[in-house]
């Protein structure tokens, strides 16, 4: 399984906000263990989806010059379940962006139903930092080709491949 917890962006306003979607499907292994007979999207993975949405929003503002790392979740609350067949829309709004890092507020909705809301903080870590090697690559917002999400639905020449 790849570490992609959003499928594509549907709105993106540089330095302000971004909306990404995640389609929940029974083909995903973890839903059969979480929980047997009652498949619901784990909260931790929704948080990851919110962090990927917000992290790319923050990174894009600085042309992806920084290594953006999920550092802290000061607040998160879950209000409702998400089931297979649901389309989750993550809306991230940039709260702070400065040299050391930034923060976003992120909401998760299925239709009009509010599923979760969180505040997420990121730090910018220099590749030369002694801490750089010690960090699990999964904490890096832009590793593992994550940025290819920005190209979802685009043909090779950059044009939209369908009528999205």
């Amino acid at each position: 399984m790849r570490w992609f917890w959003i499928d594509c962006f549907i709105e993106f306003e540089s330095g302000k906000y971004a909306k990404a979607v995640k389609n929940v499907t029974l083909a995903e292994d973890y839903l059969h263990d979480h929980f047997p007979g009652f498949p619901v999207m784990p909260g931790s993975l929704m948080l990851e989806g919110m962090a990927q949405t917000g992290g790319i929003l923050l990174g894009e503002k600085n042309d992806f010059r920084h290594n953006v790392i999920l550092a802290k979740v000061p607040k998160i609350s879950f209000h409702s379940w998400t089931y297979p067949g649901d389309t989750i829309v993550y809306t991230a709004t940039l709260l702070e962006s400065r040299d050391e890092g930034g923060s976003v507020k992120c909401m998760a909705h299925v239709g009009n139903r509010l599923i979760a809301e969180a505040e997420i903080m990121f730090v910018h870590l220099k590749s030369s930092s002694p801490h750089f090697e010690k960090i699990d690559q999964k904490n890096f917002v832009f590793s593992t080709n994550l940025l290819s999400i920005l190209d979802t639905g685009r043909a090779g020449d950059g044009s939209m491949a369908n009528d999205k």
Binding site: K72, P74, E96, E100, M121
Partner: protein, 131 residues
Amino acid sequence: MPTTDEIYEKVRETLVDALGVDDDEVTHAATLIGDLGAESIDFLDIVFRLEKTFGIKIPRGELFPENLASADPSFASDGMVTQQGIAELRKQLPYAGFDRLIQDPKVENIQDLFTVQMIVNFVEAKLANAT
């Protein structure tokens, strides 16, 4: 310009939000790391929140300088902060109270200079300069 008490109340709310501590844990003398459990990333979070709450700008390192103890070998000897070290810390942390560190100048006590009162003093000076 808000009064010192008003500033203190807002600083208290800020720390409750940033550190997830209870209201009554945040006292004037409480140390951020020892008493309130702040970690390095929390300092950035606190700076973000103070800027928003008070409408001020806090440049990097101004409130919470980095690498305080490692600046110069003459600042510490045998695990104790030297006179020279204290003088340097006073320069870097003009809003901190030094009584406790002077009584017990162990290097590991440097972190106790970061108190709730230090933030209140800092914000008060920042607001006074702005008006």
